[in-house]
């Protein structure tokens, strides 16, 4: 019985690598569409990851230390992008940050445009990736013995100092794991990006969007770009093999 789901997951990935057109691998990877999508994906996903860390850390900290209804509501909000279809996230982003959106119309007045821009891609990626980072770090923070930080404060450290020199080092691995998860999620983002930022080579057409577009023009090249994403995914799993289970086990017990 376990073989069926294992095959379901394994066979498509093997098929992708099996059908890889080895002879024109170089040509497919060096085409304009591929190189600009690779570069764009790399840059946007790394910026999105940085934003996740910068904004996610305080949020995770607040969620881990909060107890009340507000905390629970905020946590539910933070989890929502994980369960939402990304395309719905894209629609929501348009309604918020689009030119006619509730925030977007103010942004437009001061000359800031997010849809159809690379910044829009980063925003969409951050939207879908942030929950993964927050969840990982919050779980680790909850497991942490708060007494250590309290002791530091009692001995004269400021709460900020206690956070930086006591708390942060002990949740460092969870921060790293969360960042890698968020990065992988940002790299693979499709639905929210195509809905909110559109698709234009060199500006908003990231790797997954390029795969979708190439599938209609040149399926062999689409397979090559897909394989790039598979290789990245495998690398992430190998890199996280110890942390992966730790993150989610602590998540369950909290």
């Amino acid at each position: 019985m376990a073989a069926v789901p294992a095959l379901l997951l394994g066979v498509p990935l093997c098929a992708l690598l099996w059908r890889l057109p080895w002879s024109n691998l170089g040509a497919a990877l060096s085409s304009d569409a591929a190189t600009s999508a690779l570069a764009l994906s790399l840059v946007t996903s790394l910026i999105a990851t940085a934003l996740c860390v910068v904004f996610g850390l305080p949020l995770a900290w607040a969620l881990a230390s909060g107890r009340g209804t507000t905390t629970r509501v905020v946590r539910a909000l933070c989890l929502l992008p994980i369960v939402l279809p990304p395309v719905v996230g894209g629609v929501a982003l348009l309604l918020a940050f689009g030119r006619q959106g509730i925030v977007g119309q103010w942004l437009a007045d001061v000359g800031v445009q997010l849809p159809f821009t690379t910044a829009g891609v980063v925003l969409a990626q951050t939207f879908v990736a942030l929950p993964f980072f927050v969840l990982s770090v919050e779980a680790a923070l909850r497991q942490l013995d708060v007494e250590y930080a309290d002791v530091a404060i009692v001995h004269g450290a400021s709460p900020f100092r206690a956070f930086v020199s006591v708390t942060l080092p002990s949740v460092g691995p969870a921060v790293l794991a969360g960042a890698v998860l968020a990065w992988a999620r940002a790299l693979g983002e499709f639905g929210a990006t195509v809905t909110f930022a559109g698709s234009l080579e060199g500006r908003t057409q990231t790797l997954p969007l390029a795969v979708y577009d190439l599938l209609e023009r040149d399926p062999a090249d689409a397979v090559v770009l897909s394989a790039v994403l598979v290789v990245v995914a495998v690398a992430v799993l190998v890199g996280l093999r110890d942390r992966w289970f730790g993150v989610f086990r602590s998540d369950v017990s909290s």
Partner: protein
């Protein structure tokens, strides 16, 4: 267990009453309902339309999409499927042409002709070159030697239209039928000499039952009337 259940459910499809799936270009979105009703009435079959970019159909059919009939937005896409031996009995059922749709925005209201799309003040979205509407758009812009700095090349004509309907883009180039389906947008015609006409074709997917009967209905006056009402031209 769940997976096994899905396989079993999938295998039961054959026992139902005859169902015909039609894979249609996204420009057919608004005529599907009356066409479906007509086909069901005339043939006594359960007809289901599904939509996408014509450019994606070749791969879908090659991979065994259950469609009996496929309708493309242009003849070039159908030719590729025909060359690949995937379809036969190709019949031209309608024509379409390009038109500009402009949103009720400051820049959108100023658009009078296709050359206005070349202005950097106008936020323009176009179909991706891999979709027939994008190929036709490329031919149009190439023909009049106009450079349009598109903000996005959307996967199909409906996605392109949607960006203007949402007011996120000032203008787009779509099919005349799409403009007619969105009365809230202002349609700006493109001069006949510059415009690109596409011939929409239907064909039978090789080896599928009932396809011939469906194709026959498409050439009848009743079907032509539905298409004409939506703004399609007669081939």
């Amino acid at each position: 267990m769940l997976v096994a259940g899905m396989f079993i459910a999938g295998g039961c499809g054959g026992a139902e009453s005859a169902r015909v799936d039609i894979l249609a270009a996204s420009s057919y979105t608004d005529v599907a309902e009356p066409l479906e009703a007509l086909l069901e009435e005339e043939l006594g079959l359960d007809v289901e339309f599904s939509f996408g970019s014509s450019g994606s159909f070749l791969e879908q059919i090659r991979q065994g999409a259950p469609a009996a009939v496929v309708i493309t937005a242009d003849s070039a896409t159908m030719q590729r499927m025909s060359d690949a031996g995937l379809v036969d009995s190709v019949v031209s059922i309608a024509t379409n042409e390009l038109v500009i749709v402009a949103a009720d925005t400051a820049a959108g209201r100023g658009i009078e002709s296709v050359t206005d799309l070349g202005s950097s003040d106008v936020l323009v979205v176009l179909c991706a070159s891999s979709a027939p509407c994008g190929a036709a758009t490329d031919a149009l812009l190439g023909g009049i030697d106009l450079d349009v700095d598109a903000a996005s090349r959307e996967p199909n004509v409906r996605a392109t239209l949607t960006k203007v309907r949402l007011g996120e883009a000032d203008a787009a180039i779509v099919y005349r039928t799409d403009a007619l389906a969105s009365p809230e947008l202002r349609a700006v015609p493109i001069a006949r000499v510059d415009n690109v006409q596409v011939i929409s074709q239907a064909a039978a997917v090789v080896g599928r039952e009932d396809a011939a009967r469906v194709l026959e209905v498409f050439t009848e006056p009743a079907a032509m009337a539905i298409l004409a009402k939506a703004g399609f031209g007669s081939p």
